[in-house]
């Protein structure tokens, strides 16, 4: 049997190999495709390592007294995932969403923007980013007696003092609410 007949019958059985995408909404997408950047505002600490490593300069972090805003402009992002690679708290990830075509009017609106509010330290009152619970659980994995909610409300220097007090067997520092 000539080879082309085999191909012919196979094509008749399997139908066209064309993906019917723009005419029907469904299409195939690989699971690990690097599409849009998304930021988890519960984890982002605003350290800025992502904007340091961003090849295209697509990430901007604006720091304020009581918050920071992290912005990713999808029109400059080259989907290299260096931010995901270097983020120490895994707050940045890339989802396989490749639907990126948009009209020119929306050019500067295709952004991923998250604002993270700061909270005052319960001992000294300084504004600080509370450590995410997931990270605290990792840090204090061997210290079952530590009250994580209390540690979370402390700024880094007060937390250091608190840890020193605990190792020395001294009572914890008085919080502002308790003083009032």
């Amino acid at each position: 049997m000539p080879g082309f007949l085999k191909v012919l019958f196979r094509n008749l059985l399997e139908g066209p190999s064309t993906d019917p995408f723009p005419l029907v909404p469904e299409t195939f997408t690989p699971d690990r495709l690097r599409g849009k950047v998304v930021i988890d505002e519960n984890l982002c600490m605003g350290c800025g390592i992502c904007s340091y490593y961003c090849v295209a300069g697509a990430i901007n972090i604006t720091r304020r007294e009581d918050s920071h805003t992290i912005t990713v402009w999808h029109n400059a992002c080259c989907r290299c995932a260096a931010c995901r690679q270097f983020c120490p708290v895994h707050a940045i990830s890339l989802i396989p969403d490749w639907h990126s075509a948009h009209p020119e009017e929306e050019k500067y609106n295709v952004i991923e923007q998250k604002t993270i509010k700061y909270e005052p330290c319960s001992v000294c009152g300084k504004m600080m980013r509370p450590v995410p619970e997931a990270i605290l659980k990792k840090l204090y994995v061997n210290n079952d007696d530590v009250d994580l909610a209390h540690v979370r409300s402390l700024c880094p220097s007060c937390r250091q003092l608190e840890d020193a007090r605990r190792s020395a067997g001294l009572p914890a520092a008085e919080t502002k609410k308790a003083v009032e």
């Binding site: 064309t18 993906d19 723009p22 299409t27 029109n75 992002c77 075509a101 948009h102 020119e104």
Partner: protein, 149 residues
């Protein structure tokens, strides 16, 4: 006259595509070739086909960050395309400059010189995303022709 209008409104339009490489790394050009040439993504289903001359084109796809060396040639070729035309910026380079932004040899982004209609970011964009952009460009083109609201 009425028959003429009826024919104009109901005839199927087939925009021809033209590619301009404004200093691209060839990544987006490969994706454009893929979108057109392999049966899987087949852009010809939308009535589009690539043409060799800018004078026959309706939708122009621009890749690359517009280097200073090629700027004048790109503008010359773009001006040869008859109106109404739809300009599609393919990849992050023509849209924002991408990884080459603010380089000494870069004169982009391309909308400093050319009015862009559709952007499709990606490095390079997926063939399906380019198909989506061409479909969006088709809509804008029909609007420019006065066939659709």
């Amino acid at each position: 006259m009425a028959l003429d209008d009826l024919l104009k409104k109901n005839s199927v339009r087939s925009p021809w595509l033209f590619r301009i490489n404004a200093g691209s790394c060839n990544g987006c050009d490969v994706e454009l070739a893929t979108t057109a040439l392999i049966p899987r993504y087949d852009v010809e289903r939308l009535g589009c086909r690539y043409c060799g001359s800018p004078r026959h084109a309706d939708i122009v796809l621009i890749t690359g960050p517009l280097t200073t060396r090629i700027r004048d040639q790109v503008l010359r070729v773009w001006n040869e395309i008859p109106e109404p035309k739809v300009t599609v910026a393919v990849g992050i380079c023509p849209i924002s400059g991408g990884v080459f932004r603010e380089g000494y040899s870069i004169d982009g982004p391309i909308d400093r010189y050319i009015p862009v209609d559709v952007n499709v970011p990606g490095c390079p964009p997926r063939p399906q995303a380019i198909l989506e952009a061409v479909a969006l460009g088709l809509k804008i083109w029909k609007k420019k022709l006065g066939l659709e609201e």
